[in-house]
């Protein structure tokens, strides 16, 4: 029994496993940064959608509705690749000479000097922005709806007190908007958490990639831990991890909603 315990203790504290635990930081960072950016993009999108200037309103509407017809995974993959290419194209227009372009044999970038190498941190930031853009479109709809559900009387009362337009917006409208937006935003947060499992598609050594490597069958003690194909166990751990995150987020959002709903008629919630 105690030998078993000692074995498992040394198993889960093996150096490779420690790397796996460390890689959770990527997932957590992407979720938090993506969530924050999604709210920012959501606020911006909702503002555009409410704009009185037609082209801006169109931009907001197109932004929020385009995600509906196209899979989020496609956007998530497309944005970092396209951004990298756009930057390389810009660099190429500055540094490439006809000679270097002629010397380049690959299809991209135009010349070797224009190559922009992306490591894990850069990809992680791009992935977070990508998550923010995709789910910001969802948040746009949530916030747009919430802005419209704030009772008109509240805004009229604020105006009657002599508040300026921006004061009404920031002190009354957006303050009260959260109560109506939080249920929807909690759904968006759950989507973002689930989308963080896709980081490995952008060559980030995240928890999924490590689970795959650690679980792969291995019979050479020199290479790593010796076991059969244990991948399903590792994935089961991730499965449970995500369920726990969902559970915790639900609890947290319930607490936040209770707090944000203080002093507001219960029918609003």
């Amino acid at each position: 029994m105690s030998e078993d315990l000692a074995f498992w203790l040394s198993y889960i504290t093996n150096g490779k496993h420690l790397t796996w635990y460390a890689s959770f930081q990527f997932t957590i960072f992407a979720a938090l940064a993506g969530g924050m950016l999604a709210v920012i993009f959501g606020l911006a999108g909702a503002t555009l959608k409410n704009s009185r200037f037609l082209p801006l309103r169109l931009i907001g509407t197109i932004y929020s509705s385009i995600v509906r017809g196209v899979p989020d995974v496609l956007f998530f993959l497309f944005f970092p690749l396209a951004f990298e290419q756009a930057v390389e194209w810009f660099i190429a227009s500055q540094v490439c000479t006809p000679e270097t372009i002629a010397a380049q044999s690959a299809a991209w970038p135009p010349c070797k000097e224009a190559n922009w190498f992306l490591g894990t941190p850069e990809y992680l930031i791009l992935a977070s922005v990508s998550l923010g853009l995709v789910y910001g479109a969802f948040a746009t709809n949530v916030i747009h709806g919430a802005l419209r559900s704030v009772p008109k009387g509240q805004l009229e009362a604020a105006r009657a007190y002599g508040m300026s337009a921006s004061q009404v917006l920031w002190r009354v409208h957006i303050r009260q908007m959260w109560v109506y937006a939080l249920p929807g935003l909690s759904n968006v947060w759950m989507l973002i958490v689930k989308a963080t499992s896709l980081l490995s598609l952008l060559q980030i050594a995240d928890i999924v990639l490590w689970a795959d490597r650690l679980g792969a069958p291995n019979f050479l003690p020199a290479v790593g831990l010796v076991h059969d194909d244990w991948r399903w166990r590792y994935y089961l751990v991730l499965f449970v991890f995500y369920i726990l995150v969902t559970l915790l987020s639900e609890k947290a959002f319930n607490a936040i909603m209770r707090r944000a709903g203080r002093g507001i008629l219960s029918e609003a919630r």
Binding site: R68, G69, V70, P71, D72, V73, L74, L77, F78, L81, A82, Q85, A107, W108, F138, N141, V142, G184, N187, V188, M190, L191, K194, A195, T196, S197, L198, L201, V208, A211, D212, G215, D228, D229, R231, W232, Y235, L236, L238, F239, Y242, I243, T246, L247
Partner: protein, 244 residues
């Protein structure tokens, strides 16, 4: 223009795989979801707990992980079970295991929709049915089910579109066999060949968009048929719900 048309031709066989995955998992997922929704509403605590747990687990975890988990689980049974039975070529084939996982996933989401609709069925109608002396089965067949499906249909349409979109990660988790590639793999391989991200991903997006609109249209037709007895028939409006 020519490259664009050429590109459309390259993606045409690929979209069939996405449509296959969705079409194979939707009917099965539908049946399973009805059972799960009824299980969730069941008065038997064991059945209710199990259904609740299932729905929570599959809604609370990413489809990507579910794919990896179930595929690696199937792989680990390969030597002991599938090989001796001689069915490993079938069980481990992406065209089998893809729809299987999608079915399990969509069943959980759809069950949640159906469960919500089940609780929204007007109580008065059920009481009236009971007063007429209908048996439980008759109540379900003639009162509860028609109400449920009408209430759930718009949200279910939304879920079907989400499921279709979810088919794009099937081949990121499962092995690609020969020329069997879906839209995302085709786009990715073409991208790796000539690095033209804007063309390839836009064409894939266009295919997804078109099929989504077709789904909205077809399910709108069904909805109109379901609501044909209502005084003001709802028009075919592109009115998507925004969240899964």
């Amino acid at each position: 223009m020519d490259t664009f048309l050429n590109e459309l031709g390259l993606f045409a066989p690929a979209v069939l795989f996405n449509i296959y995955f969705a079409a194979a998992s939707i009917p099965l997922g539908f049946v399973f979801a009805v059972l799960l929704a009824l299980g969730k509403a069941s008065s038997n605590p064991l059945i209710s707990r199990l259904s609740r747990g299932y729905v929570y687990a599959f809604r609370g975890s990413p489809l990507f992980i579910q794919f990896f988990m179930l595929y690696s689980l199937a792989l680990s049974f390969n030597v002991a079970v599938w090989k001796p039975w001689g069915i490993s070529w079938f069980v481990l084939h992406p065209l089998f295991i893809g729809p299987l996982v999608l079915t399990l996933n969509t069943a959980a989401y759809t069950a949640e929709i159906f469960y919500g609709a089940l609780r929204a069925v007007p109580r008065g109608e059920i009481e009236a049915a009971r007063a007429y002396g209908m048996s439980g089965r008759q109540q379900f067949r003639h009162v509860i089910w028609p109400n449920l499906i009408r209430l759930a249909w718009p949200a279910y349409t939304n879920e079907v579109v989400f499921l279709f979109h979810a088919t794009c990660i099937v081949y990121f988790a499962l092995p690609v066999i020969g020329m069997q590639k879906d839209l995302m793999i085709t786009a990715k391989e073409l991208f790796e060949r000539d690095y033209n991200a804007f063309l390839h991903f836009s064409v894939a997006a266009l295919y997804f968009l078109v099929v989504s609109l077709v789904i909205f249209f077809l399910f709108g037709l069904v909805y109109r048929r379901l609501m044909r007895h209502m005084p003001a028939a709802p028009g075919l409006r592109y009115a998507p719900k925004w969240l899964r």
